[in-house]
Symmetry: D2
Subunit: 502 residues, 4 copies
């Protein structure tokens, strides 16, 4: 199917209401990286301050209305401005410095081209880090077409740099919802090229192919999905017996979970609070709602910098961990009046209620590290008796009639997506996992994977980790034959049972 | 087979070599709490300095040769000295203060007597903490007979206090191997009483019943096993199709694992080193071999007190965690010359070799927090060119020909079993788990548990945790109906999927 | 010598070369807050990212050429744009929330107006925090005229807000050196008003009055000086017998030293590195040069977030502290090849040499937390074989011929002045100290202070601290009469001997 | 009244009541190391568990009544049992391993014998560490006679080892007060030998010489005093114009203060609590009274191990530090009901009152890390309605009528003197300082020191520190000529102004 665009700009639509509804039926109960699109609130998350260098030039022309050609003469892409390629290239090069795992994967696997013949269609955030992933896939033999999973997160210069090297990219910062689906379609629906692998973040691409191009879908060799939401959708498809393709859930691999949550949040909570409020942490009274990995990361960092932290929990096991780690476990209502900062990390909704917001003291900062934008009941603050004052980007003062101000960050959306950056190193772990998952699915012998959702084998998790050790100049010890035998282990791993908690 | 015993002190033996062999075939690869018996080295572990108040009086008469009667007129017990009961009672009362979970369990369940009809035979360390467990079981309606799982760990006064209240206890500190089996047999083999539940720590009691009293074994309603070794034996029995009884593996429950390993070792590494060597931690160079839960606990504490810690690891995932936590990951041979302290936490063997011991600097301290006594190649130190000098209890100087001294703690056995104490609070968690497992197995409806080995249901894990929260004055938050629905959770738990890593 | 000024914009000059020289003869050996002016490099320090909201509008007209009137009809001021007053007022209000010590000082002292009759001429950074100080002084009865101590640090909106309320302010962001002196002169030299108190930061105002208006200088009741450089100048004047006025050195008060250095740097090192490089701290190898208060603050924070930190020191006492705190003490050359980040905190020069920069690994980040811009030999990097690439504001990549990049922050100037913010709370401590020093000098009975430089009495240091405790809801314990007698202390302090180290 | 006994054994007495009174007039308000003797309570402190190996044999004969000869034929000593010399020698050798600073001082100074001609009479704790000091002094050329400053702290075996090598030692564990003065006299009053240097800890020896042998006193070249009490006495003598000898106050040197208090307490608080109560620190609510160096050390360690710590303070500056370090600052009465542990570190009296003891919860642990035995009002607990139960050495349960137990450690005396050990490394710092002070005073040119009390010059403080750096393999950086000039420093130090706070 070809379709025109330009001023005509056909609106791409689902054929019927059901399709539309199917999107909203997936709860966002998901997880913190869930960036659902469509009409959902969170699709308005601005992804990262790293994107902030992206020009906000006044060029108002839609990329769909521009005719652009790269220096190789190709126009099979749609980006903001192909001329920004050079700037984007430098960003990619900077990112490469912290993604040595992918570079080393390129080197190790380049001879054998394990992805030769792979035609990968991808839908992810388009950032310098993703570019390193895409160019790694290409170096390993794959052909790629790419689009963005979020309408705000695309780094235009990076998209340009990719397009310049010949990767068909369809994405720009500030897409409309219509643009969003149009871009996905342009990735999938191209003459003389049919995808046989899908790399998705959120499940939109997968859904589009499943719905619009069922014949393509059936011939796909594998799907790699990163997000909680996307994984949830895949499990539902599988349960419904409609998943005719093996899929790899890379969201739940250890390296992603522990690093993306515990370690990444340990750093980003400080960064997010500092960039928005210039708060001094020493001596501040902070309550962290939820002591899962995200909460643990936040608490560790805040305590280390001299904040006095207490915890709320619903799960007695996590609560007991909090106790042993030196945090008082309280109910939010018991302490709300004394707190300087309130941070939600629960994955739940209405964890901070209007009644509690009413009782906060003047100057209290409220933010969300959990997921989506449901944890703080922000809607309840949009009432006539309260005044909103935007004091900085991402920072609102909500002013009570008596003059009390509550400082709300990112309107209750994810603080670390909106107000801090995600370290390249963490993204490297995820990207490496995605690359390995693609290689595994593409090369797996017939029958190893059935029409189901799989976790990355532990051995590959360990391999991802091992690729990142050189960053730290870390030297792994090898088991002797005698020791391996004694432990009942293979010298090359896996080293732990599946249920190991790390 | 019937066999006599009593004053005659027949030596109790396995009927044939096979039986004997069966014991040694279980590798001690187990875990850190593995206290294997029989001729194994670790059965000589002295359990805890808490036991150190136990009298070392010169009464050399074997308890088996004494005629003792408690104040109720019963002589159905065999302890060191029934007159020590009062002292033991005070120890039990002190322990009760830190075991409020069991006390509260007594209160909650006492009305319904959930263990009425239970006839429990138990084989564990006999300490004040175990006494609190036993007396809780009795308060819940059970009849108990008890013996010791380790020939050195019995607190004689506590055994006396239990015997005085009417619990048939057969145990004393410093039993011979023959005594050990004799005591087990006296527990099981008594007229007019047949056990229907087994609580075991190490698997010896289970094995004895299985081998000697197969008819009893078949009628047992459930086995609760705490140790790695015992659990391993059960899984082997199950695999061989010989386990005709449901068994509960309490060793792998979250609360036990995380608390017994991470938190307990965090404290005991400092205590063990200090009590033996009076070392100052600040500025010491320490290498910790293994970054599992035990290693993590050790590293956290040592770093917090100013030691400079590095890590060895075989598993790249744990190694990457060590990096992110701020520890250099090295090979032991690279750093061995600089180290002030070497600590093993691997569960492996020969982690510290003679070659490495040769290269240590003068005064280097070497100890084992892992398991058993295999991690340090102590045997290699028993060679003629080296001089051993016992400088304190549990502390040997090994002196090289050039005068260099290496300080070996506990002869390479577990430092925290030999040289520090285990906090009552940690033991409370284990004891509560055991009590709940017994209640669950005894009351489970027909068919819930088959002839297999089970983990404690997560909900009961959570219950154990919740019983310990009042110790910390911790206040749990309850889900609202709306929140529970949003999360897809039952308001009373379980709150996490089984694979959750905590 | 009289000189004109006004719209004519005469260039203000020193009468002769000697005067000029006098400025440059003061070494900047000073300290980290030293912001020397004149032709010195550091006068180009951009003060704080908090100033970043300040408009960079294209209005190129010099404020000296504008005719502006505030709503009260006064034109006795010179700011960028009086119309920005409202925005500035909000910033001041926000700052007031974290400066409750000053607000409470206003309340406690307002009745008695302890500064009634004081005519204060001030020269400091002009920020929202300074505005809170100035308005406090006014509330206590003082008349104030104010100018900026740094040509870049003025927040134009705040200056406008002050001018709007009637405080004669002469300052704007981006002054020329000539503007700088012109503004100072306009503050001092006004008809019908003669300053009797000086509040200075850097010593320029003091010097100007001393040189140009000796008759005013002689009648001044007291000088309060905050900066290392200014204090140094005062001590030199005093030594030369030319200081005819009592002066208060607030730079060396405990509260300023410990808070401004230890605690403030603990937070700003993380913030400065994150905002410029988005670095992940976990597992990074960092060397911190210098283990004074600044170094201690940096090390604490970095270690807490998982960096592996080592130290260089010249002072064996500080080195021994570093050891006990768990940091390896090394020579820079021994470790330079392995480091991911190099931070200088010495107050010395050429601590990082070109030879060491040559040996750094690719991607190494180099920055300065010490003082001035001398610690890193930046000049040596401005050589033809190296390429400089500005990748972000305050971030340069220096590229070696072989492609190696070193990441230089703030061109070697102070990282926390250039790339992070200073928490209002810390500024509050300094401002409160300044206010108390002014009150003390203005009200001191004849003879209490001679023509010398004084430290704030310990009791007033303690008072400053006590005014800040309510921020933390901290409750001080009072000595009983019996206890005070036992300790030989006055119940109201001072509580420690002067030499106490805290 | 004269009375005879033993070999002469005249009872030594002060000539009159005044002398006696002079002793008691010195308040023990001193400091934590103050071990006053005579009838004072603290002379009953048992010094350290390291002394615990000391035999408690039943040999009841007073050493004064024994005739002992060492292998060299000398009988100029009085120790418990000269035959224990070999065991003591080993202890000294072990101590030498951690006192490499003294060993290296021996090596550096041995050629020139800087103490040749020095006749030192010493009065200190007699431990393996002191022996290393004494033997260092001898190696440097001094002749020494030694006695004990505390009637309980002598390690008999060490005293024997010293006597065996020819050092006249007069000391044993468990001396009477009469023995105490007799030993001092035997040290001073010997034929053909007259002391020209005094090394004292507590001031008793100094006082004795001053009172009894004024002619000796006048010819002494210098006194080195370590204790707070002794230093206090010297300042009083000086003030009274009676100090005719230069004296060195080594108590207030930086290395001693910071290490002995901050770092040493950081470790000993954990050790002392663990050895006495086996408490688990994780999650415990602890209040620390006093946030000086001792309090800071305690809080750091407890927080690091997961305790939840709050602070009481009278000094707002220390209170503000506590806030910034992340501790809530409270009044004791506000929190006393919730606390699990109460620790005093104030140097004050009645910091914990009976009223507060009454309100503690069951099982609360109370102990003193401050000084003397005044901080907890222990006397108030010796009342009829309360029952005391000694449950372990140094551990009492005080039982209220309702059954509540408070756990009192060391009867309110210093926890770390009574229940934990002092690391050799810390003692090494003090001993090295003492040795350097002796060398300095003995060799100082006429006129450098007058008849006054001096602090060790900063340069020597730095030298002490530098001698301890090799223990940590720490490498000091040297200033270049250019840097030294820039900083205005001598390349060899001193590196800091006297008021520097470290």
């Amino acid at each position: 199917m070809a379709h025109k665009h330009g001023h005509g700009r056909e609106r791409i639509q689902f054929a019927n209401a059901e399709d539309k509804q199917e999107f909203s039926k997936y709860p966002t109960k998901a997880g913190r990286r869930s960036l659902s699109r469509s009409i959902s609130q969170s699709s308005t998350d601005s992804y990262s301050s790293a994107a902030s260098y992206t020009d906000s030039s006044d060029d108002e022309t839609s990329p769909r209305d521009k005719a652009q050609v790269n220096t190789q003469g190709s126009s099979d892409f749609c980006v903001k401005n192909i001329k920004q390629a050079e700037f984007g290239r430098r960003e990619i090069e900077i990112a490469e410095q912290d993604m040595s795992a992918l570079i080393s994967l390129r080197k190790r696997a380049q001879g054998e081209k394990p992805l030769a013949g792979a035609k990968i269609v991808g839908c992810t955030h388009i950032t310098a880090q993703t570019a390193v992933l895409i160019e790694t896939l290409v170096a390993l033999g794959a052909q790629c077409r790419w689009t963005a999973c979020n309408i705000y997160s695309t780094q235009n210069e990076v998209a340009a740099a990719l397009a310049e090297t010949g990767v068909p990219v369809f994405a720009w910062k500030g897409e409309s919802e219509d643009d969003f689906w149009w871009c996905i379609d342009r990735c999938v629906n191209t003459e003389g090229w049919q995808a046989n692998m899908i790399l998705d973040d959120g499940g939109d691409l997968t859904h589009w192919v499943y719905k619009k191009y069922p014949s393509v879908f059936k011939k796909v060799r594998g799907i790699v999905e990163e997000s909680v939401t996307g994984v949830h959708r895949l499990y539902q498809l599988s349960k419904a017996g409609k998943l005719c393709v093996p899929a790899m859930n890379v969201n739940d691999s250890v390296t992603k979970q522990k690093f993306d949550n515990l370690y990444c949040c340990r750093e980003s909570i400080l960064d997010g609070l500092k960039r928005t409020t210039d708060i001094m942490f020493g001596g501040k009274q902070v309550v962290v709602c939820g002591y899962g990995e995200v909460g643990k990361g936040c608490c560790t960092a805040l305590k280390a910098l001299g904040a006095i932290v207490c915890i709320t929990e619903i799960d007695p096991i996590c609560a007991l961990q909090a106790c042993m780690d030196g945090f008082r476990v309280v109910k939010l209502s018991e302490v709300i009046r004394q707190m300087d900062v309130v941070i939600t990390c629960t994955g739940n909704k209405n964890v901070v209620t209007r009644e509690q917001l009413d009782r906060m003291k003047n100057g209290c900062i409220v933010c969300n590290m959990g997921h989506s934008n449901t944890e703080i009941d922000v809607a309840s603050l949009r009432s006539p008796e309260l005044t909103w004052e935007r004091v900085r980007s991402q920072v609102d003062h909500i002013i009570w009639p008596d003059g009390k101000r509550v400082v709300l960050l990112a309107e209750g959306r994810l603080l670390n997506l909106s107000c801090s950056t995600v370290p390249t190193f963490v993204l490297s772990i995820t990207a490496t996992t995605q690359a390995l998952a693609l290689i595994e699915l593409f090369n797996a012998p017939e029958g190893r994977y059935k029409q189901d959702v799989y976790l990355l084998p532990k051995k590959m998790d360990e391999y991802v980790a091992s690729l990142h050790l050189p960053n730290f100049d870390a030297h792994l010890t090898e088991l002797s034959d005698e020791q391996a035998k004694y432990m009942g282990l293979n010298k090359n791993g896996p080293f732990k049972p599946n249920y190991y908690r790390y």
